[in-house]
């Protein structure tokens, strides 16, 4: 099975360049980073507008998860912007009301 020098399977004239499979890898692939990104943005909006601290914290978690699951081919700007938004949601919630957080069912 292993190739010997007499039976070298290599053919330098048959080289084909690599074409990244853009069409396959996208929506068909793992959609986790996109969902988490969207969820993170929704949570941070809720946290900012309704001044809910737990929403803002959830947003931070969501953007973290989205970042860790992201593909290298994806734009980092999207993930970074969602991350920044969630951090700002947390900071704003605490500036407006520097009380300890209360969970929604408490």
């Amino acid at each position: 099975m292993s190739s010997t020098s007499a039976h070298d399977p290599r053919r330098p004239n048959k080289v084909v360049r690599y074409k990244p499979p853009n069409t396959n890898g996208g929506p068909g692939d793992d959609p986790t980073p996109d969902y988490m990104n969207l969820l993170g943005m929704i949570f941070s909006m809720c946290g900012l507008m309704m001044k809910l601290k737990w929403c803002a914290w959830c947003a931070v978690y969501c953007s973290f998860i989205s970042f860790s699951n992201s593909r290298a081919s994806e734009d980092t700007k999207q993930t970074l912007s969602s991350f920044m938004l969630s951090i700002s949601a947390v900071v704003m919630s605490y500036l407006q009301n520097p009380q300890p957080m209360t969970l929604p069912f408490q």
Partner: protein, 473 residues
Amino acid sequence: MKTKHLILIGLLVLGYITAAKKVKDADFDDNEFAEFEDFDEDEEVTLDEEADFPAESDDTPQQQATDDNNDDDEEEDDDEGTVETEDDEFDHFADDDEFEGFDKDTRTGKGKSVEPDLKIAKVPIHLRTNWDSFYLEMLMLAGLGVYFLNFLAGKTKNSKLAQAWFSCHKQMLEENFTIVGDDGQSKEPTQGGLMKESENVYTIWCSGRVCVEGMLVELKLIKRQDLINVMSNLLKPTSDQLVIKVNMDQATEKFCMCVANKKVAGKLQKDYADLATFTEKKSLDRYNVPSSFQLLSEIGEATSLVLDKRVCQALDSFETQIEYIHISDQYSGPKNQYEDNQTKMPEVKPTIVFCFNVAGKGKTKTTDMESMKPLLKLVFYLVDKVARIALSKEGKQKSDKNRQKAEESFLKSAHAQRQEAAQLRREEKRRQEKERIMNEEDPDKARKWEERQNKQDLKRKQPRTKMLKMKGM
């Protein structure tokens, strides 16, 4: 005489008023209100005066004198006991009709309250003074810290595993391919290394071999960088996977088959169009292959040529590691769920796909990568074998017939879809024109358009009637 009396009375009244003012400076308020109190009597008196002026002209001064006396008494009373007089004095305060626009509630609040209602203001908890109350925040930060640490650890582990695999198999790849690790970016094909698609997916493209256009190796490792995935893996362990996709030359024989683990065979047949269209479930009794595998085959002859002794032996020894082997000349990737209505046949390429599980079931060590070497050897062996397969005449006929049938059925469904689409478009156009005409204010234009439409409809119907006539004749 009467006028003299009038003047006298007027002077007396004036004198009384000024006297009252001088004497009663101290108790101004009281007398002021006292005056008002007696005002009704004065009014009565004046009325009476008007009615019967001469008779009562003497009475009024007398009354006023008595009033003065009363005031004096009240004054004396004031000095001795203020409360009672105050009550008397302030009776009219209790009368709501006396005052307009007066809010009784505020007045009662300002007054002497029986119980002092002390409202203890809530002092906000400050971070520096009261750490304990922020325990939820600490928990959140701790959670984030743990997640981040896990991310770093997982990322490093995955990277190490990928590099270990590459270093183990580099030599074998270089022996078989001219270019190992082309990234497709630079002008000239370069010898690179692994390409990082994400923190858990690494790929490498190899090209320049006989019978093969190119080979894409994908290392689909577990998402060790994501804490949630790690926890779900503790509950349901999964393996790292190695997917090798070999694009064959166009000269390969046309047949379709798949040997897969029973658990994934069903899913594969559903997901891949070529397996769904061409293959059927067949039994593996004839072959010396473990029962955990399922065979999907189109042409029995081709299957028996592929599954020779050596391949069956490999399937037996690497039973847990081989997930599936998919050989097809009509490979077009997994079915795209979003594009159900395809008017054009998807592009197909002759391909062999191998899916291997890395030993260790998730708890892989870098040393486990060594055990993958025989599997790569199997890949090259099968590639060479499939390239050299030559079907008999019957086999070729059968395969050609199958492909033709599939194409026809696809075109039919595509044609039907295209007709439907065209019909919808025509209807949409007509509706839009109708709307436009409805909105047209000029009645003449509307009439003209309607006439035109009727003519067109008649024309469309005419040929049929014409043909009938001809037949009749």
